[in-house]
């Protein structure tokens, strides 16, 4: 994916933004097909549907953060700061699970 990099004036090479765009567009197209392919999914099919959709959304979010927000080229400490909400939100969701299934 990092093919076709170009040097930015900040001294680091950035990837081809259009390549990232096409990846995002393709993932969105695949995402859109999932609810139609797995209509009224239950049991294992529901698990496949949910995990594939969440996986694709997470991949898209990482692509935007890493390449459009240039997190890949920032210091590692800044990347840790940026990743903090993910840890806290997962923790929050785990803490809410008992309520969800009460």
């Amino acid at each position: 994916m990092a093919h076709g990099t170009a040097a930015g004036s900040k001294g680091h090479a950035h990837p081809s933004y259009m390549a990232i765009f096409w990846w995002l567009a393709a993932l969105t197209a695949v995402e859109l097909s999932v609810p139609f392919l797995l209509q009224n999914a239950e049991g294992f099919a529901l698990f496949v549907k949910a995990s594939s959709l969440i996986g694709m959304a997470a991949t898209k979010a990482v692509l935007v953060a890493m390449y459009f927000m240039h997190l890949r080229f920032e210091s590692r400490t800044l990347a840790f700061i940026a990743g903090t909400p993910i840890v806290l939100c997962v923790f929050l969701m785990l803490m809410l699970l008992p309520d969800a299934f009460a």
């Binding site: 990232i20 959709l53 903090t84 909400p85 806290l88 299934f101």
Partner: protein, 206 residues
């Protein structure tokens, strides 16, 4: 004035060790971290309410997935125009910066227009209100309107923010050497796109 204060007043502001370009960029990242937790809290609450409801509807049966797919594609396109704008000014192309920023603003405004149409349609023809769904009490509408409304407010703020940056760009404020505020505004806009990617999946597709 004490000796220390005198020295400080003449010294250049210390560089942020995390973002050597500016403190402003670090400030935006800290703001985005806090904002991400707000969205995370709303999404977690949505998940808990949905899982605890015995008869939560299938979103695709009520919400217009095709229209929202267009909105998603539009927002992805504006992310590209935003980075292209930053790339343009880093190469000294000021008209390019303004052109790409204006495209981003137009894309954001279109997104808001489509969202307004979607809300209007859902409330009048779709039977979705804050408290009811097809005449029966349901939290579906409340979670939907709060999540998409909070995001829509961010898009609106982003459109105004980028318009201000574009106007400053027209006045020649940014150059190939000095364009930090464009990058900071871009961080905000990409964050809005990133959050929509998650909302689109959790609220519309799942």
């Amino acid at each position: 004035m004490s000796h220390a204060a005198a020295v400080l007043s003449h010294a250049d502001p210390a560089e942020s060790p995390l973002t050597p370009e500016s403190w402003g960029k670090l400030g935006m990242w800290v703001f985005l971290v806090g904002d991400a937790m707000s969205f995370g809290g709303l999404l977690a609450a949505y998940g808990a309410l949905r899982l605890s409801a015995p008869d939560w509807p299938v979103p695709a049966d009520i919400l217009g997935i095709q229209l929202t797919a267009v909105m998603t594609f539009l927002l992805i396109c504006t992310s590209v125009t935003m980075v292209k704008g930053l790339d343009a000014i880093r190469n000294g192309d000021r008209p390019g910066l303004v052109r790409f920023l204006m495209l981003t603003v137009v894309g954001g405004a279109l997104f808001l227009g489509l969202q307004a149409y979607e809300w209007n349609h859902l409330m009048h023809a779709g039977g979705v209100t804050l408290t009811q769904l097809h005449g029966e009490n349901s939290l579906f509408g409340a979670t939907f309107f709060v999540l998409t409304g909070f995001h829509g407010l961010h898009v609106f703020s982003g459109v105004v923010y980028l318009l201000c940056i574009a106007i400053q760009g027209m006045r020649g404020k940014y150059t190939a050497e000095s364009n930090n505020q464009v990058e900071i505004a871009g961080l905000y806009w990409h964050f809005v796109d990133l959050v929509w990617i998650l909302i689109f999946t959790f609220v519309y597709l799942l």
